[in-house]
């Protein structure tokens, strides 16, 4: 298969030799995994893709798979852009990822148990006490509490990238309320609708089994004495940007989607208000942040929580998923200790790489950071969604000075990492009407239960649609791709 130049839909595809290109190797040859797909896509003209692209967009819009963007004057409904070129991960590569993310989730679970019980890892000086005691996400209400089944992070979303060295690196572990899994399913559906033929040539694992596995996980952590648990999903409401996902998960699991106002607590049991009166609730998959769960215990003005929920939880009458207080471990500063955390609890070597990290809280490392900002990414420790990130080589001299000042003012709040080059993947660009390389990452979804675990074979490949942009979050103009994990026999 010779170079892309023969293919009109790839006419403006310029491979950057400094980056890892997911489909072309260093000789501009199509990689083995993508050969068939590339040939199949070559049969379509640029116009075809334009049409398919428009159709796919309309389909997302009509299905109401949208999120809301709050502008200055009005609320706009936007779709999370979907790209027609799927990401393919072969079985060998996937095995490595799957083992790696499961290992991390288990290690994080053990870490959470420890920091809410004996704190051995701290007492032994492996993770600094400061990281825990200065964390706003540590819930002292959880101190000494045994969550049902011993599970904290039932659901973890791990963000991975492929660096220019062709290796996967973990960028972040999200174990509060990781979102995005509904898009994995939507993307698959959308690609099937648009280009069903290509699926005949590849054997990819299904992604629709996520919900059934999630339900099983929820059932493994049911309260004592409950036979068949009544599980629900709780959402902040229809105006939440992830509402589509909440409703999708409830529907796919066949459980009720509730809001705080639908639940009440009586004698430390949780009930939902149904048309036939109160009905007891046993397991709550909550998509509400810790601080909003219970106005009697946390933010007193939370209107989306349930007063008395924490007491019911602590009495063991209801299970919350993920466990309150997991946020302490998805702090970006904890991330940097992941290799040590894995070794400490699992006595194993980490399977997936961590990006080397400089802690601005350590004076010598702070010095290095301040002197090398142009080569580093500076990240706030506790912001989600790609906010507050500065990429050193994109900053002007003045901006570098500004960043220096903010970082020196509160060094504990920042970490720095070398600028990782996210791999690129062909992505349909509306303006040029052809495929161009764009940066991608991968979010995987791992489930931990007391007697089973599950990694979704697939994931959310997020793509930065702006040329050269490294931030793939949807709030920053990112899109996503269907992601295929291939079965072994290919």
């Amino acid at each position: 298969m010779k170079s892309n130049k023969n293919n009109p839909t790839f006419k403006s595809y310029n491979r950057d030799p400094k980056l890892y290109d997911e489909i072309f190797d260093e000789n501009d040859e199509v990689r083995e995994t993508y050969k068939t797909l590339f040939e199949l896509y070559s049969e379509h003209s640029a116009k075809d893709f334009g049409k398919l692209n428009t159709k796919a967009k309309a389909s997302f819009f009509n299905q109401g798979i949208t999120f809301q963007v709050y502008g200055d004057h009005e609320i706009k409904e936007k779709i999370f852009p979907f790209d027609l070129f799927p990401r393919i991960i072969d079985s060998e590569e996937w095995e490595h990822i799957e083992k790696g993310v499961l290992q991390r989730s288990r290690a994080l679970n053990a870490f959470l148990w420890d920091v809410y019980h004996d704190k051995k890892i701290i007492k032994e000086g492996i993770v600094p006490l400061d990281l825990i005691s200065s964390s706003e996400n540590y819930l002292d209400q959880m101190n000494g509490f045994d969550p049902p089944g011993g599970i904290y992070n039932h659901i973890s979303g791990t963000d991975l990238i492929k660096h220019s060295d062709g290796k996967y690196y973990v960028l972040e572990d999200n174990i509060r309320c990781p979102s995005g899994v509904s898009y994995v399913v939507c993307n698959r559906t959308a690609l099937k609708r648009a280009l069903f033929g290509v699926f005949n040539h590849y054997q990819a694992y299904t992604v629709t089994n996520y919900a059934e596995n999630l339900l099983e996980i929820l059932e493994t952590v049911k309260p004592k004495g409950v036979d068949v648990p009544n599980c629900v999903v709780i959402t902040p409401g229809i105006y939440n940007s992830a509402y589509y996902e909440h409703s999708y998960l409830a529907k796919a699991m066949g459980v009720e989607l509730v809001e705080g106002q639908d639940l009440f607590v009586e004698n430390d049991f949780v009930y939902m208000k149904t048309i036939n009166g109160p009905e007891k609730v046993d397991v709550i998959y909550r998509r509400i942040d810790d601080q909003f769960l219970d106005p009697l215990e946390f933010k007193p003005d939370s209107a989306i929580g349930v007063p008395g929920l924490m007491a019911a939880y602590k009495k063991g009458n209801v299970c919350l998923v993920n466990t309150p207080g997991t946020g302490v471990a998805d702090d970006k500063a904890i991330y940097t200790y992941m290799p040590e955390i894995i070794k400490y609890y699992l006595k194993e070597d980490p399977i997936l790489n961590n990006v080397p990290t400089y802690h601005c809280s350590r004076p010598d490392e702070l010095d290095y950071v301040l002197n090398n900002i142009q080569n580093l990414v500076i990240k706030p420790v506790d912001e989600a969604g790609g906010y507050g990130i500065s990429i050193g080589n994109r900053l002007s001299r003045e901006e570098i000075e500004e960043v220096k000042q903010t970082v020196s003012a509160s060094p504990r709040k920042y970490i720095a990492q070398p600028i990782m080059s996210l791999s690129v993947h062909p992505t349909y660009i509306e303006d040029s009407e052809c495929f161009e390389p764009r940066h991608v990452d991968l979010r995987t979804f791992t489930l931990l239960g007391s007697s089973k675990d599950f990694v979704l074979k697939g994931g959310l490949t997020r793509v930065a649609l702006k040329k050269g942009n490294l931030i793939v979050n949807s709030s920053q103009g990112g899109g996503s791709k269907d992601t295929w994990v291939l079965k072994n026999n290919q």
Binding site: K251, D262, N276
Partner: protein, 314 residues
């Protein structure tokens, strides 16, 4: 099912139905008036007044109504509570919060409908879009009706939506009768029209999409008696008040778990109201239509309140 969600489904049904009736009312009144047989029925002001009355806007007291403004307010003005665009928005919002319970097909249809109304070019509408807009609205609602019947399991979810639909339908048909009866009263006498044979009866039947059915049933020109009888009492006419009450009765029985309805239940009240109208005769109704209208609107309202207390309280 959650009480809050049940309430949302109930109102989703009501708003869909309401949008349809208002849209058809605009369409039928406007276009039949263009070639109406008498001058008053042709008069713009007369028609616009009638529309505002039906839409529930009593805020205006100008003598001269502005056509563009009135039509825009009722159809597409997002700031007017009684506008079609507002009903569709509310229907979709209600659907959103019950999204996990309704079919993907129904949700998608509601969502498409919403985007259609939301993106309808206002300028076009004001110039010459009334026909297109109102027809599209009524067609969309009939698609929704099909999706409700054909893509939902006929369980509690379905029953609650249908309760909303039918209570609203009965209410809207009564309101249309009220509105057109007033028109007929005002129009009587001009060009020798008597109340009994008013041209407005035809319009009324068309507003309820029942003209063809009525002609098939009576094989004669509509009169006040036959029109009222058909729209109120005929159990075979799917738009009649009695038919709606029968439907309400059927669906409350799917919902209620009691075999013998306790006297404070919604089912009991619905049964009672249904029985009250089941054996009414049209002459009795016609002799004091105004009292009848007030009475039945009260009854329908009472059913809504009772349902809310029993099932939707959260």
């Amino acid at each position: 099912m959650l009480a809050r969600v049940a309430n949302n489904l109930f109102w989703m049904g009501r708003y869909i139905e309401r949008a349809e009736h208002v849209a058809r009312y605009l369409n039928v009144n406007y276009f039949t008036s263009l070639d109406a047989p008498n001058e008053l029925s042709q008069s713009r002001q007369f028609v616009l007044q009638s529309m505002l009355f039906m839409a529930d806007d009593f805020t205006r007291n100008e003598n001269e109504l502005n056509e563009e403004e009135v039509l825009f307010d009722i159809a597409l003005n997002p700031d007017k509570q009684f506008s079609i665009i507002n009903y569709v928005k509310l229907a979709r919002e209600n659907a959103n919060s019950a999204r996990d319970l309704i079919s993907t097909e129904l949700y998608e249809a509601i969502n498409k409908f919403y985007h259609f109304v939301l993106n309808y070019p206002v300028e076009n509408f004001k110039k010459n879009g009334l026909y297109d807009f109102s027809v599209q609205v009524t067609e969309n609602t009939s698609i929704l009706r099909g999706k409700i019947r054909g893509t939902l399991l006929h369980d509690q979810v379905y029953s609650i939506i249908m309760l909303g639909v039918n209570i609203e339908r009965a209410t809207q048909v009564i309101r249309i009768i009220n509105s057109k009866y007033k028109d007929a009263e005002i129009a009587q006498g001009s060009y020798g029209d008597t109340l009994k044979n008013s041209y407005e009866w035809t319009t009324l039947l068309k507003c309820a999409e029942s003209y063809d059915m009525m002609r098939r049933f009576y094989r004669q020109t509509p009169t006040s008696i036959t029109t009222l009888e058909f729209l109120i009492l005929n159990t075979d006419c799917p738009r009649s008040v009695m038919n709606s009450l029968n439907e309400v009765w059927e669906h409350i029985n799917d919902l209620s778990r009691e075999k013998h309805h306790s006297k404070h239940s919604s089912a009991f009240l619905i049964g009672k109201v249904r029985a009250k109208y089941r054996f009414k005769v049209i002459e009795e109704i016609e002799s004091d239509l105004q009292a009848f209208i007030e009475n039945i609107l009260d009854d329908l309202n009472g059913i809504g309140v009772k349902l809310e207390k029993e099932y939707f309280h959260y």
